[in-house]
């Protein structure tokens, strides 16, 4: 691995470590797909080496790409505070937040992309730019050697028009774009591919835990492991509708002696988060069976244990990105009741890998139904686990990249 990164930040995972989970045949197949690509050079560019979902994904994906014989480099944009202020504003605007775009902002964006041009490795066979920040580096593509891909990790379904029109001029010059959901994509003159976000089954958040450890962690939060546990893991954010979850729990509570766990971060560093947390507490009205847990930003073992100890996992968002907490729960064979928003319906196939709901009452009804039918709940959990194995694991992400590279080379890697 080369580039401007501290290489210790990259995990040392190998494909063989996935054999016990996925079987040798699936891993051999990845190696077979990678065979024609051996030695091909891939450059990944994003805007941060640590923190954030993209960096986390790259630290886990790139060692696997190296393991199958690709020559990988990962480079990170350099920029001043003004650049990151502008790109953060762009990010929010692309998600639909109100934003008055100024020409000076576009100029700052262009200036830093121009300064970063030396990052571009002209010898790369595949250049993958992640998110809007490095999108204008396409200007450094002076000849048509290599294939350039723009990987968009954000939801572009309702973008600020002026920001998108500015970016689109760059994006349209790539050979293809990758989106996390068809819903998040835009009309573009280039091919668009669907790459689901993925979880790593070997990460602390998802790895197998001993039942004793799960019990110890959960009991440490004051949760009774002998009674049903309903859990929603998410930031204290109105769009995750934690108040709606409490209301659904209240309906369920009339029929089942259950507990509710609402666990997440975002309350200490975000004024709106603190307000939402206060509203949730008020709605909870001192109910001792409602456990509101403020977790630190990185608490993977706690999240893992809470999901594993849950009877049912809820994701009652009003709006959602992809909602990977659903895949995390399904991987742990948990029955999930979730809202049909964002990327959730891709994960929860109604009545097959979980149950979808569209209201507080609907959520409560689906939870009651699952609590009354434990064999159905177990079947949904099992099928959900298989669905994640097929679609939402890091190894699947690797397979999609390999397939895309082969496709771009004409199907056989030559």
């Amino acid at each position: 691995m080369t580039g401007t990164l501290d290489e210790s930040a990259v995990s040392t995972q190998t494909l063989d470590q996935y054999v016990p989970l996925l079987g040798a045949a699936e891993i051999d197949e990845l190696r077979a797909l990678a065979g024609p690509l051996k030695g091909r050079r891939v450059q990944m560019v994003n805007s941060t080496a640590v923190g954030g979902g993209v960096a986390e994904m790259l630290t886990r994906l790139l060692p696997l790409m190296t393991d199958v014989g690709l020559a990988i480099s990962w480079d990170v944009l350099a920029g001043g505070p003004d650049f990151f202020e502008v790109t953060k504003a762009f990010h929010n605007a692309l998600h639909g937040a109100p934003y008055e775009a100024k020409s000076a902002d576009f100029e700052i964006f262009r200036k830093y992309n121009e300064q970063n041009r030396p990052l571009v490795r002209r010898e790369a066979d595949f250049t993958v730019m992640h998110d809007p920040q490095p999108a204008a580096l396409i200007d450094a593509r002076t000849d048509h050697r290599g294939h350039w891909i723009w990987r968009c990790h954000i939801d572009l379904s309702r973008p600020n028009r002026s920001v998108w029109e500015f970016l689109q001029k760059y994006i349209a010059r790539y050979d293809g774009a990758i989106f996390s959901s068809p819903e998040f994509s835009r009309q573009l003159p280039i091919p668009q591919y669907l790459f689901y976000p993925s979880i790593d089954p070997l990460a602390d958040k998802n790895k197998e835990l001993e039942p004793d450890l799960v019990r110890a962690i959960v009991e440490n939060f004051g949760i009774d492991t002998r009674r049903p546990i309903l859990t929603q893991i998410s930031r204290f954010d109105r769009l995750k509708d934690p108040v709606g979850v409490v209301r659904a729990y209240r309906i369920v509570k009339r029929y089942f002696d259950c507990q509710l766990v609402l666990a997440g971060g975002g309350a200490s560093d975000d004024p709106e988060g603190s307000q939402v947390l206060a509203e949730v507490r008020e709605e909870g009205n001192g109910d001792q069976d409602i456990h509101i847990l403020e977790l630190p930003a990185a608490a993977p073992l706690e999240v893992n244990a809470l999901q594993r100890a849950s009877t049912i996992v809820i994701q009652k968002s009003l709006r959602e990105g992809f909602g990977l907490t659903v895949a995390e729960a399904l991987w742990k064979k948990k029955p999930v009741v979730a809202a049909a928003v964002g990327g959730i319906p891709s994960q929860v196939i109604h009545k097959h890998t979980g149950l979808l709901a569209h209201s507080v009452e609907g959520t409560a009804y689906q939870i009651r139904y699952l609590l009354s039918h434990p064999s159905l709940a177990a079947r949904l959990g099992e099928q959900g686990h298989e669905h994640v194995r097929e679609q939402f694991l890091m190894t699947g992400n690797l397979k999609r990249y390999l397939s895309l590279f082969l496709h771009l080379l004409g199907g056989n890697g030559k």
Binding site: E29, L33, P182, Q192, Y193, H358, S403, H407
Partner: protein, 218 residues
């Protein structure tokens, strides 16, 4: 032990999903989509959907039926769409025609349902296939069995399900080889009868292995 006139060359296939920026928010738009979407899209939502969801052995058939039930709550049409068996088709045009006819007939019979808004849209996508030969050839049934046992889901799916369209013969690669290269038409017929709707890829493979094990000319 019989030796095949031609060895069986195993390949693996990986499917990229291409987003084609077409969506349906009601039955009328589904009907229009079925009329105009690409063949690769019909393949993605039927043949390939079965492969992606092979672990669902009860009540899942294709994406159109699932959406009609889960997002539109139209059980009658969903049931009809789910009843479409891809094994009956050697051409995507015929498959598209039947799906389109079912939705059109339903819309004509239930005009008030036609523009009812779905809970969530249906996004048309399409498959882009990439195939890579594996370093595995079988010259005999014994060799075939050994390789079959360690075949990935994608490779098994490619030979057993997707091949039906490629061959356009109402059969699969394995059965085709049993007949053409090993002169075992009974085994080919039995293999072709394995139900891909009620089996997972693993259990279909297990059934095929047990058929091979019972073959007297093995």
């Amino acid at each position: 032990m019989k030796t095949a006139t031609q060895p069986f060359q195993f390949v693996t296939a990986s499917y990229l999903t291409r987003i084609n920026n077409q969506k349906a928010t009601n039955l009328d738009e589904l009907r229009l989509g079925l009329e105009h979407t690409s063949d690769e899209s019909i393949f993605y939502h039927t043949f390939q959907s079965l492969g992606r969801h092979h672990f669902l052995t009860e009540g899942f058939s294709n994406d159109f039926a699932q959406w009609t039930l889960a997002a539109l709550n139209r059980a009658q049409l969903a049931e009809q769409l789910a009843g479409v068996d891809i094994r009956d088709y050697t051409s995507l045009a015929d498959l598209r025609g039947d799906l389109h006819r079912m939705v059109t007939d339903y819309c004509e019979a239930h005009p008030r349902d036609t523009h009812q808004c779905a809970f969530e849209p249906f996004y048309f996508c399409e498959s882009v296939v990439v195939t890579v030969p594996l370093a595995s050839h079988a010259h005999t049934l014994a060799e075939f069995r050994e390789i079959l046992m360690r075949l990935s889901h994608a490779s098994f799916y490619n030979h057993f399900i997707a091949s039906r369209l490629r061959l356009q013969l109402g059969t699969n690669d394995f059965s085709h080889w049993f007949t053409d290269s090993l002169d075992l038409p009974d085994l080919a017929r039995r293999a072709n009868r394995i139900d891909i709707y009620t089996n997972t890829l693993d259990s279909a493979r297990d059934e095929l292995v047990s058929l091979v094990d019972r073959e007297p000319n093995r």
